[in-house]
């Protein structure tokens, strides 16, 4: 729980204090990456695949967490950005024969640029009106993916998407690719950790808490709104760029509106605005249904019931509940003579 990193708390320490002591969040990120590096040993290819899928989805949720949880912009376009990233990599690697790395860079830049474009409505509309605008964008992207068969393969999708190579070594087997994804996820999590400790992170928070006050304090609301959208979208794109070689096949269905809602659910269930919320949320969304398979035909009903009860019991998500329990325990300890 010492990795409890409410973004409001991040960056409160003065620079000297931050240097003088190691941030628990940073330690947690590196430690978690080390554990995940070795976690699949003895798990089999299925367990490794599910772990990798969890990390990929966590990257997408991290992006949405930045847009929604930190900057307070209710976006339902994250699945579309994931789709753009996945298709960019799928088309460039499987059809054009490009290496994964430049394709990944292009996917990131493309989704960053698209994020800025989609972010413009966010300057004029907020709350559920913004959700509607982004919903329309998701529908539009899905229709392009499905109907432009000459480019995207349409409803038949794109098959045989190659996995990246690293220093000439192929990452085709489940464990190698998992470790590759662990490293990418660690880098991207560290980037978010750094971003939120920077003045940018505090500007995003100000935007969420009170845009008018933020503007009065000199925060460029327009620039930071667009930036929050663009970075969040780029994370969606990067997640898609990893999803395509993971599944080795893409079709439009995983990037439809329902997927955007599911990603939103992961942000909220994990704990909106918490650094590690996306990992908990993605754990609930990706790994929990797989764990529940032992219950047979009832597994999706049980999954839905768990999520429902969870959100009733802790509207601030799992990490919100954990933080509350931590605070209570701390108070109890203080009171004890």
């Amino acid at each position: 729980m010492n990795a409890r990193t409410d973004f409001a708390a991040v960056g409160q320490g003065a620079p000297r204090r931050a240097l003088s002591r190691i941030d628990p969040a940073l330690v947690s990120i590196v430690l978690a990456a080390a554990i995940l590096w070795f976690a699949p040993v003895g798990m089999g290819r299925y367990g490794t695949y599910v772990l990798t899928l969890w990390l990929v989805m966590a990257i997408a949720v991290m992006g949405l967490n930045l847009t929604l949880g930190v900057a307070g912009l209710k976006s339902l376009a994250q699945a579309a950005f994931m789709g753009i990233g996945a298709y960019t990599v799928g088309i460039l690697t499987a059809k054009a024969g490009m290496s994964w790395y430049p394709a990944f860079a292009i996917a990131t830049l493309a989704t960053f640029a698209m994020g800025i474009v989609v972010g413009f409505p966010a300057l004029r509309v907020r709350a559920h009106y913004l959700a509607f605008v982004t919903l329309a964008f998701t529908s539009l992207v899905w229709l392009v993916l499905r109907n432009e068969e000459w480019l995207t393969g349409g409803t038949f999708g794109l098959s045989n998407i190659p996995r990246p190579t690293l220093f000439g070594a192929r990452l085709d087997d489940a464990l190698s690719f998992h470790r590759f994804v662990v490293v990418v996820t660690m880098i991207l999590t560290l980037a978010i950790w750094w971003l939120l400790r920077s003045p940018w992170g505090r500007a995003f928070l100000a935007l969420r808490e009170n845009p008018v006050r933020a503007a009065s304090l000199g925060v460029d609301v327009r620039a930071y709104t667009l930036l929050a959208f663009a970075i969040g979208s780029a994370y969606g794109g990067m997640a898609g760029a990893l999803y395509a070689p993971l599944v080795e096949f893409i079709d439009p269905s995983p990037f439809a509106i329902s997927a955007s809602f599911f990603l939103l659910l992961m942000v909220v269930a994990g704990g909106s605005g918490y650094l590690f919320g996306p990992f908990v949320g993605a754990l609930l969304g990706v790994v929990l249904p797989e764990w529940l398979r032992f219950t047979g035909g009832l597994y999706l009903i049980i999954f839905a019931a768990i999520v429902l009860l969870l959100l009733i019991a802790c509207p601030k998500g799992v990490l919100g509940l954990a933080e509350m329990l931590w605070a209570r325990a701390a108070r109890l300890v203080r009171r004890t003579p």
Partner: protein, 378 residues
């Protein structure tokens, strides 16, 4: 007391014995039990369950009982891949499913890498065009069915123009591409090419487009519920031109949902419990008794898949995963050898099937077979 101890020791020995594990063969079905493909996937699963129960009751395959496990794909490619990977990790003898083409596309490389036969319910043409020697269909592909339909439209209906109504998913788009190509070959012009959405509720606008196109016939290629909705809308708009379709349009579910609107609909049927084939009729009766509803073609496919595995295993006389695929490829399975196959079936080298099929018509709320069409191959 001593008897109890000996009995207990024997029971423990029997439980711990590897012989018990040898007595079973594990088959894992990965199909669409939730999401958009739930109707098709559930029928497929029930067909499998029926076949497994029958085979186990008769002593299993080569003396081993089948242990069947079902995993849901949620009709999602990433989840399908996870489930197929899990099936292979858990040592399935062969992979059964999925039924929808997208999830099949996402999972077929894994079975191929593991050199395990995957028997699928998909009909999209591209599935067997990827040089994957481990994929096997359980029904005719769209490319096998559509030439028969185009010929019927040209020769029986004498149509010069046809309106094509299709659902814009991998199933519908594949069918639309295949029928349009075949219609062109027999000199029929497509008067209206109408794309509809999966899950679409209102087909009034599409029916009006069909009516305005005034083609000699209408070809409908939609999923079950949508087929029924379109037929109702077409009748409401007073469309009196012949309405033709492929398997789904004449399925039990569509007839039930469309009611009188289904009467007069004609088409090609790959697998039907109403076909004048004793095995199919018998299957239809047993399925209804067990599940209390009429099976569609997906139920027959699931049933066939298990019997294809049984036949090939008995043919190779051992449980060899790779050998199973090798035995199935290019095989001719006759009902006289394996009654559970229901109709004589040729498995082509690429995993496609060839066998008889039927021309059918819906009369008074029932599907009636009007002609038996021979296999495409010699």
């Amino acid at each position: 007391m001593r008897t109890w101890i000996i009995g207990g020791a024997l029971a423990a020995l029997a439980l711990g014995s590897p012989v018990l594990a040898q007595d079973k063969v594990k088959l894992i079905n990965v199909s669409e039990l939730s999401g958009a493909g739930a109707t098709a996937g559930t029928n497929w699963k029930n067909g499998i369950d029926l076949a497994v129960a029958e085979i186990n009751a008769k002593g299993g395959i080569l003396g081993r009982q089948i242990e069947i496990v079902h995993y849901d794909t949620q009709t999602n490619p990433a989840n399908t891949r996870a489930a197929v990977q899990r099936a292979i990790d858990e040592g399935t003898y062969a992979v059964l499913g999925p039924v929808f083409s997208g999830p099949i596309g996402a999972s077929m490389q894994i079975a191929q890498r593991a050199e395990i036969a995957q028997l699928v319910g998909g009909e999209a043409a591209n599935l067997t065009a990827q040089n994957n020697p481990y994929i096997f269909r359980t029904s005719l592909s769209q490319t096998a069915a559509m030439p028969k339909l185009a010929k019927a439209l040209a020769n029986d209906v004498k149509a010069k123009t046809v309106s094509v109504v299709w659902v814009n998913n991998d199933f519908g788009k594949g069918g639309r591409d295949a029928i349009n190509a075949e219609l062109a070959k027999v000199g029929i012009k497509v008067a209206a090419d109408i794309s509809t959405e999966q899950g679409q509720a209102d087909f009034a606008a599409d029916a009006i487009k069909v009516k305005n196109a005034n083609a000699d016939a209408v070809f409908v290629y939609l999923n079950e519920e949508e087929s029924a909705r379109f037929l109702r809308a077409a009748r409401q708009q007073g469309i009196d031109k012949p309405i033709w379709g492929e398997t789904t349009l004449l399925g039990a579910k569509v007839i039930e949902l469309a009611g009188d609107a289904a009467n007069g609909v004609k088409g090609h049927v790959g697998l039907s419990v109403d076909a004048p084939v004793p095995g199919l009729k018998d299957f239809g009766r047993k399925f209804r008794e067990k599940f209390n509803y009429a099976s569609d073609h997906n139920g027959i496919k699931g049933y066939n898949a298990v019997y294809m595995i049984k036949w090939a295993t008995e043919k190779q006389k051992k449980f060899d995963k790779k050998g199973l695929a090798d035995t199935l490829r290019g095989a001719t399975i006759k009902v006289s050898e394996e009654p559970g196959i229901l109709m004589d079936t040729v498995v082509l080298k690429n995993g496609d099937l060839d066998r008889e099929s039927f021309l059918a018509e819906v009369k008074a709320g029932k599907q009636e077979i009007v002609a038996v069409l021979p296999p495409v191959g010699p």
